[in-house]
């Protein structure tokens, strides 16, 4: 089915390959069913997720948010063929010498906040914001959002606030001493998101709930 493909990630719900496609290198994401569900229902849910992921990617592209271009969607085989982003993840970048510089972090933070603001403006909620799912193009340095496998369309303030909270948790757990950087992300987000006041206020509530939950263990 996928020829000359190189498996680059085997996840719980998807396999990600790098493979030749129409004279280019492309990322092929294959979603598979979780074994414990009902087979027919499973097929339906998997198809729906594939479609949702492709649609959210395309919706972002059309709103000038840098995301991998979708090349082809094979719903029957649960495959999405998409642009291969050459570059490194923000996660890896933050561990490099350059990535430790405050100026470099400020620049990336601004791009992240801007991209997320624009994404929420079109009611796309990413659902899995981590520093691995933020990439930087090798050529231009442009910030790219990837992995829309859990994304959905929602206009709820709460959903957007949780989206930011998930990223905040990812920052604090993976990257020590990046509080300043995360604050810069929120600042850029505030300047670019239409409902940022409400969302950022909600983020504080979400944080509170998170703290309470972790205090209860």
């Amino acid at each position: 089915m996928i020829h000359n493909a190189q498996l680059i990630k085997q996840g719980a719900e998807a396999k990600v390959y790098l493979a030749p496609f129409c004279q280019r290198q492309a990322i092929i994401k294959e979603r598979f069913a979780k074994a414990y569900r009902h087979p027919t229902l499973d097929k339906k849910l998997t198809s729906r997720r594939v479609i949702q992921e492709a649609r959210c990617l395309n919706r972002c592209q059309k709103a000038f948010i840098d995301t991998p271009t979708v090349y082809l969607v094979d719903v029957d085989s649960s495959l999405i063929y998409m642009e291969f982003i050459e570059g490194c993840s923000v996660r890896d970048y933050l561990t490099t010498d350059d990535g430790h510089l405050p100026e470099a972090q400020a620049k990336v933070a601004k791009e992240i906040g801007t991209a997320l603001g624009k994404m929420h403006n079109i009611d796309v909620v990413h659902g899995d914001l981590t520093t691995s799912n933020l990439m930087m193009r090798k050529e231009s340095g442009s910030l790219v959002l990837i992995d829309f496998g859990l994304s959905y369309v929602s206009n709820l303030i709460e959903d957007k606030a949780v989206d930011l909270y998930v990223l905040e948790r990812a920052f604090t757990s993976t990257h020590p001493n990046t509080e300043v950087m995360f604050a810069q992300i929120l600042e850029a987000y505030g300047q670019n998101s239409k409902a940022s006041k409400l969302i950022l206020k909600k983020l504080e509530d979400v944080r509170m709930r998170g703290r309470k939950r972790s205090m209860l263990g």
Binding site: K62, Y71, V75
Partner: protein
């Protein structure tokens, strides 16, 4: 002519394409398409609507896959390639826009499968025009129509972004 493997379906053979300019028999070709002349075994599309070879390859690859799955939306694999270049599901409109018409002067002929030599001979014997390299495609683009058909935002201006927009639009056509 150039031939490209179908990465997702190697057993379907190659995608062969050739670019022709100064075509003189478009009216005749169009007529043969209309009466569904079976001896015409390749697709012909307007060069002016091709931004990049990649666009053709994606449409052809998808057509080969749908053919393999027995899921063609149109009559033939050839018409399917033309249909798949279009971002909409309206078959008549897609074919009208992307296929050749009586006045076409520049076209790209595409065929999936077959021997390269034979395909080229067949195309050259059928199309009365000059075979040119794909680098000539650049001069044929009709940006006004491309923008209209693919609903490209006026703010998108650089070629890579335009191509990405087009590919994205084609990719979404079955899951709009």
């Amino acid at each position: 002519m150039e031939s490209f493997p179908i990465d997702t379906l190697p057993q379907a053979g190659y995608i062969h394409m050739a670019c022709f300019i100064s075509v003189k028999n478009a009216a005749d070709l169009k007529e043969r398409l209309q009466i569904q002349d079976k001896s015409l075994t390749f697709a012909m599309v307007q060069s002016s609507l091709i931004m990049d070879v990649f666009q053709l390859l994606v449409a052809a690859t998808r057509s080969a896959q749908d053919n393999d799955a027995g899921k063609l939306k149109t009559q033939t694999l050839s018409s399917e390639i033309v249909y798949n270049l279009s971002p909409t599901n309206n078959i008549a409109e897609s074919l009208r826009r992307f296929s050749i018409d009586e006045t076409t002067k520049s076209l790209v002929a595409i065929k999936i499968g077959g021997e390269a030599d034979q395909v080229l001979e067949e195309m050259s014997n059928t199309i009365d025009g000059n075979l040119v390299s794909f680098s000539k495609l650049d001069q044929e683009k009709d940006m006004i129509k491309l923008r209209k058909y693919y609903k490209i935002d006026p703010k998108v201006t650089d070629d890579t972004a335009i191509l990405n927009w087009i590919i994205g639009a084609i990719a979404m056509k079955n899951i709009q």
